[in-house]
């Protein structure tokens, strides 16, 4: 290679790993953050559905029991 051209490009090749490293780390970190969020949201949403069902069942059962409790005390003896 022409020595002047080699001098002109002297920092291009040595700095390439740093440049590639900076961009790769940047995008890997951002993607990792997004993936962690997405996985966590999916897990939490499944948990949420189960818990909401359980709470709704509990409330319904309690309401049912409340209705039965309002019935006259001698109602069941007839």
């Amino acid at each position: 290679m022409d020595p002047i051209l080699a001098d002109i490009y002297s920092t291009i090749v040595p700095s390439a790993p740093y440049l590639i490293g900076a961009y790769a780390l940047l995008w890997c970190a951002l993607l990792a953050f997004i993936l962690v969020i997405v996985r966590h949201v999916r897990k939490s949403e499944k948990q949420l559905v189960l818990l909401e069902e359980e709470v709704a069942d509990l409330k319904a059962a309690r309401a049912q029991r409340g209705v039965a409790g309002d019935a006259p005390a001698d109602g069941g003896q007839e």
């Binding site: 002047i4 002109i8 920092t11 961009y23 940047l26 939490s44 709470v55």
Partner: protein
């Protein structure tokens, strides 16, 4: 009473919540972020030439142009390093805004918003440090130097880390939110110091675009594309994380509600009522309904 309820409901509606109008912009924002970032990357790498460094003893004809300076490829880190730093500052401004809103209103939702903004900001601060360090290692030959810009930015990162240490150290939600809001405001105070330090201390080694004659049009265009892309990435990350935190809070509120059911069921175990769906009997209505709003 009716007025009070309606007023309370309208206040609730004004609180930031996942699923509100900013979330409707998520898909366009993701697409736009990908387009702008990719366009910025390609523009910076393929169209904008490497910046000239020191002159050499001679010249060469490259692509029909006479070149007589060392070409600095490492400078291309700048096209993402600076936008990432700007996004970290913007997120800290939002965090401080929500901290002040919390201190004024004592509404825990604002503390949640500030927490999420600080988290995403910490990610961007770390990325700024890493990309900057890679540039520093090549250009200055060291991983770290106590340059004023680097030092103030390190202090900023330590303040944000302190915010999360404090967050985990205090259990009581109101007290935790108050302390953290104060730290959030302190972090915000460091933002203009970080930004202006290279102008206040001219001996700083850190490059300053305006001090070094500004940018050419093609450099500014590539930087603008990357900056818009990164701002959109910051917005998407903030909304996604906020939605996740809100789902977690709803899960926790439901768990608390169930625990309360079971606790009260145990308390009423002596009564005739036996809970049909669980081993624990249930006797009474919960004393409080978790709002899930904090």
């Amino acid at each position: 009473m009716r007025w009070a309820l309606s007023d309370s409901n309208s206040k609730r509606r004004r609180l930031p919540e996942s699923g509100q109008w900013p979330d409707k912009l998520m898909v366009p924002a993701i697409i736009a972020a990908a387009v702008f970032s990719t366009a910025g990357f390609l523009d910076a790498m393929l169209r904008v030439g490497p910046v000239n460094g020191a002159s050499v003893n001679g010249f060469a004809l490259i692509g029909g142009q006479v070149v007589d300076h060392v070409q600095l490829l490492s400078q291309k880190i700048f096209y993402f390093h600076m936008p990432v730093a700007i996004v970290s500052f913007v997120l800290l401004v939002f965090a401080a805004y929500y901290c002040v809103r919390y201190l004024v209103s004592r509404e825990l939702r604002f503390d949640t918003c500030a927490q999420v903004a600080m988290e995403v900001s910490l990610l961007f601060v770390i990325l700024t440090m890493v990309t900057g360090d890679l540039w520093t290692r090549f250009e200055w030959g060291v991983w770290w130097t106590w340059d004023p810009r680097l030092t103030t930015y390190l202090i900023l990162m330590l303040i944000i880390i302190a915010y999360f240490i404090l967050r985990n150290a205090v259990d009581e939600p109101e007290r935790r939110a108050t302390y953290c809001s104060v730290i959030g405001v302190i972090a915000f105070v460091d933002v203009p110091i970080c930004f202006m330090i290279t102008r206040l201390i001219p001996s700083s080694l850190h490059p300053v675009v305006t001090r070094q004659g500004g940018m050419t049009g093609d450099m500014a265009a590539a930087l603008a594309l990357c900056l818009i892309g990164m701002l959109l990435v910051g917005f998407v990350l903030y909304r996604a994380r906020f939605a996740q935190v809100r789902v977690d809070q709803r899960v926790q509120a439901l768990k608390d509600e169930l625990a309360l059911f079971e606790e009260e069921g145990r308390a009423g175990a002596g009564s005739a009522d036996v809970w049909p769906f669980s081993d624990a009997p249930l006797a009474a209505e919960p004393h409080t309904q978790p709002s899930g709003e904090d």
